[in-house]
């Protein structure tokens, strides 16, 4: 979203971004102010006082009903939210989002609205502005809605409340972006009548997150494997990775004194930084595993630069890519894949040197991959590094977003041409 806004600004647009207050982000996935600093100063940011009530941790703000039975209260809240919009977590934001968008349009009429999901409730605001003021809109759908990217199943039918919303939104959108080809294909197959509106806009990586040539590994003081990302993957996946790590350290002398550092945001609300995944990581401390919390955007490159290999832990399969994979590729470091073999990340990594390959996740295959990566880290050549970086360059976010924004602007012009 930041890069998209910057690209519009760079092309001379007057851009307003509607988001929620910093404290609300803090309550949810956390907030990185160094990231906000990179927003083009010409972009106007409007922060709405919306927050996820279910994540509230100040008990003084609880009603007696909530305090007595928190799960039941949250269940009722979700039901109430879903009455406004079929998204139990965020549905209740619908009114405020619609009002804000209408108000902003009154103050400064907009030519285009681009909405990004999640949450999907923002689609309601796009629709309202379209209905009341005929402001064209596009949807940056990211992982899509009607496809469950984790399980690979259809998430809901066209006759469900969600299905009716999705169809309505797609019916008038000028463009629909998804993060990968499988999701795009799902939409093209599901809504053949709108197939030409569907575009793949990959996440890509920020050039400033890529380290300079990483340091030379020092097996004597211990190789360091790293994971940087949100630690919200299923616990059984994490356990299999850690079991594999344990076995690899037992079997491979290069790994005997190796460390495995996890960094990133994890958990939200009362569990922020202290969820079950962190507990599992703490339990693996004797295997050199540690959890170091979030890394500010400005420090990302340095964090990667201090590691010798990366571990790509992602849930899901065919329909899932995850933004991490681009950033990982751009480090030039060996990558251990800890995800299903049939995964979109596999498609991207195919052909990259310094990659262990993807073999589904069980402790034995993970152990073999860790051993392989350990050797790659000490034996890799400058040529392999250069080839890995060349492989990554095609995914630089700035150029991906610049092309996507240009394309969207021309789609808008074509649409205007049709309607004039």
């Amino acid at each position: 979203m930041r890069e998209t806004a910057n690209q519009f600004a760079a092309q001379g647009w007057d851009v307003t971004v509607v988001t929620i207050e910093d404290e609300s982000w803090e309550l949810d996935s956390g907030v990185d102010h160094t990231l906000s600093e990179q927003v083009d100063p010409r972009v106007n940011v409007v922060k709405l006082p919306l927050r996820r009530e279910d994540l509230e941790t100040d008990i003084r703000g609880y009603s007696a009903e909530r305090a007595v039975d928190p799960p039941q209260w949250v269940k009722s809240l979700r039901e109430r939210n879903a009455e406004s919009f079929p998204e139990p977590t965020f549905g209740g934001w619908r009114g405020a989002l619609e009002e804000a968008v209408l108000r902003l349009h009154r103050e400064r009429p907009a030519d285009l609205l681009l909405t990004s999901c999640v949450p999907y409730v923002s689609l309601a605001a796009a629709w309202r502005l379209w209905e009341e003021a005929r402001v064209p809109y596009a949807v940056d759908f990211r992982d899509g809605w009607s496809i469950d990217v984790i399980d690979g199943n259809i998430a809901f039918g066209r006759d469900s409340a969600e299905g009716r919303w999705e169809e309505r939104i797609l019916g008038s959108a000028i463009s629909l972006w998804t993060v990968n080809d499988p999701i795009a294909e799902h939409y093209r197959g599901h809504y053949p009548e709108y197939a030409d509106r569907v575009h793949v806009v990959r996440n890509g990586y920020d050039a400033d997150s890529a380290p300079a040539r990483p340091h030379r590994p020092d097996p004597d003081s211990g190789l360091v494997f790293g994971y940087l990302g949100t630690a919200t993957f299923p616990t059984n996946l994490l356990r299999a990775v850690l079991e594999g790590w344990h076995l690899a350290r037992e079997r491979e002398p290069l790994l005997a004194n190796a460390r495995f550092e996890f960094r990133g945001h994890t958990g939200n609300g009362s569990q922020r930084g202290t969820n079950r995944q962190v507990e599992i990581l703490r339990e693996a401390a004797s295997d050199g595993v540690s959890f170091g919390g979030p890394v500010a955007k400005a420090d990302v490159a340095a964090t990667y630069g201090a590691w010798d290999a990366l571990v790509l832990i992602i849930t899901g399969g065919h329909y899932m890519t995850s933004g991490k994979v681009y950033e990982y590729m751009a480090t030039g470091l060996p990558i251990v894949s800890a995800h299903a073999a049939d995964h979109d990340a596999t498609n991207l990594l195919q052909g990259r040197p310094l990659w262990t390959g993807a073999h589904d996740v069980d402790s034995e295959s993970m152990a073999a991959s860790f051993v392989k990566a350990a050797h790659m880290s000490v034996e890799s050549t400058d040529e392999q590094y250069a080839a890995a970086m060349t492989h990554a360059h095609q995914f630089a976010r700035e150029s991906i977003m610049a092309a996507a924004v240009k394309n969207l602007i021309s789609e808008l012009q074509v649409r205007k041409g049709h309607t004039q």
């Binding site: 008990i59 007595v68 399980d151 039918g157």
Partner: protein, 704 residues
Amino acid sequence: MIDVLFISSSNPPVNLVADTVRLLDAEGARVWYGGTVPSAGKDDELVDVPFADRHRLPRTNLRHAVGLPNGERVWLRNRTDSWLREKARAAHVIVALDNGSIYTVWQLARRNRAARAVFGLSPALASVRELAREGGTPARGSSLPSPSFIAQETLRVARELPASVARALTSRSIMRSSLGAKLWRVPLRAPGVPDRLRVATGRRVAEAMNWAGRRSGAAYALALTATHISDPATKAELLDDSVQQELDRGVVPEHLGDAVQALLAHADESAENGRIDAAAQSLLRALMLGFHRVVHIDQLSSPLAEDAEAYVKPFHRSRAMQTVATTRGRVRPAAPPPTDRPLRLLVMVRANDHFLPQILDRYREHPGVELRYLDLAQHRALRDASSAPLRVLKERLGGDDEYAETVERLLRPHLDWADTVFLDWCLAPSGMLTTIDPGDTRMIIRLHSYEAFTRWTHMADFSRIDDLVFVADHVRDLAEVVVPQLSGPQAPRKPVLHNAMPLNDFARPKTPDARFNLGLVGVGQVAKDPLWAVEVLRLLREEDERYRLWMVGGDMPHKNSRASRNYRNEMEKVLDPLVESGAVLRLGPTDDVAGKLVDLGFILSTSVREGSHNALMEGAASGAVPVVRNWPFYADKANGARTLYPEGWIVETPAAAAERVLQVNASEENWHDNGKLASKYALSTWDWSVVSADFDRLFLGEQK
């Protein structure tokens, strides 16, 4: 110094708590910990956490807390704890570590208005950092409780006064005496009492009786109250509670029939008035109670076995249930197997694949079959949809079209691919599977045995099933009585096919002592009735002390039900001295049953019910002489153990069983000959090499 109070109502994540305490310490805070720690192991781990003070909060719930939400229960047992009150008054930050302790923190924060009150470790750390940034701590005790708090507390005391009086009059000592307990029935029967007051009194008396340990009295009080209530919903709820309390104790409830009737009546009334949700809820409860495992599975008898027709009559008479059981059929008949390509066979199961390995192996390799295997439990969406009884009922009652759409979306791709679907076990997935019209795909479900005693067969639409496969005639007979759809014009075919068992490997030479060893393989369910085997052993040992009973298999799981636990406790008492003396050997679970059978000269089937009793068939194949109790659930029916096995194997009583063993064992040669005959019979009747032809016919039709 910033004082922080952690409150926990369950096992805390010790490592994370320890990390946070260290971080708080670095910020200049000290941490007190008050927790209800259920497990001793966790308590030990907490010793290493550098708390300034640690205190165990009360763990016993108060009588009047029974039935309240967890948060309130935790608070009620904590609120008089002097350590907690003292620390809560002094704390600058009060922290709930889990959902259960939130209400306690909420209450304490109303008494100490200056303290911050937060949920979670990170928020605790953030609060302390904020306080430190603000340069100090607010003066302790600077704030009195709020006026609204005082008002509410006063109101609460006033409101609870009659209850307090009632509690005094229903104290444990009074209710423990029969006279006291009986006296309380009087107001429950009294005429002219408004429903609301009667219900409140009935519940109070039940609570008191439970508290005094008079469990059946409590259930009786609820049922008695229900008989004087006219509102169908309230009546059903009271009887439901009464019956559930008894089931929780592992007892077959006296008022089970009344509860089922009341729930069905409420379901009928709700459905007629368009309240589909309430109708489905009531119907589901009626089915859950009526077909509860405590009543039919974890007992040595079942009202279904005694008189199935009478037992299911109330269900069949319910109009709501009739709507659910209305057949919807299929638009097109199943297509015949393809002739130009292999048959596409989809084998479907939900987790329990115990009876499938041979079938899967055979048809994976079969040139005429392309096999796919789908374990519903392995796919989140399918797992959820295949265990959604309430949604199935709502859909059948016309109140949940979305469920049918979901099932359509999830299953249609599989149905489009498959020529034939074979679902093993007629349990929850059968309801899902028959929610949608299968098109021209042939649908087969296999019903083993215990499914006939569950609610699931009442939630499937068998008009959409082509073949309902049984493993024995007697199970089919019972299912036909219980489920009218199985006899109607749209009924599926009902072939009987033996289970797929490779028996060849079981025929091995016996050890010399085998002829005095009785084997009971599989003892993990009440229905196996191992105590019957013990009685046989006792009678035999009166004649000859060389006889021993070998029990193979895992024990009855404690989690099944209290009824199962009761049987097991009784069994353990009987077995302990016998194991000690060497008369009984408990071998536990094994992967090598064939290896164990070489030591066994006799194989017993002592069950009260079985489908086909595979372990007995394996034993017979091994050359152990079968001794089969005439399974009482089916003893007086047209089919049963008597018709499934050769007549000579069957006995009616432990005495007859002992007599058969002694007769067979009159000489070693006689025993040997009998074993050989049994083995020959088993191998020629039940071995997979024979039975597989029946499966070929089932899936592929008559082969030319």
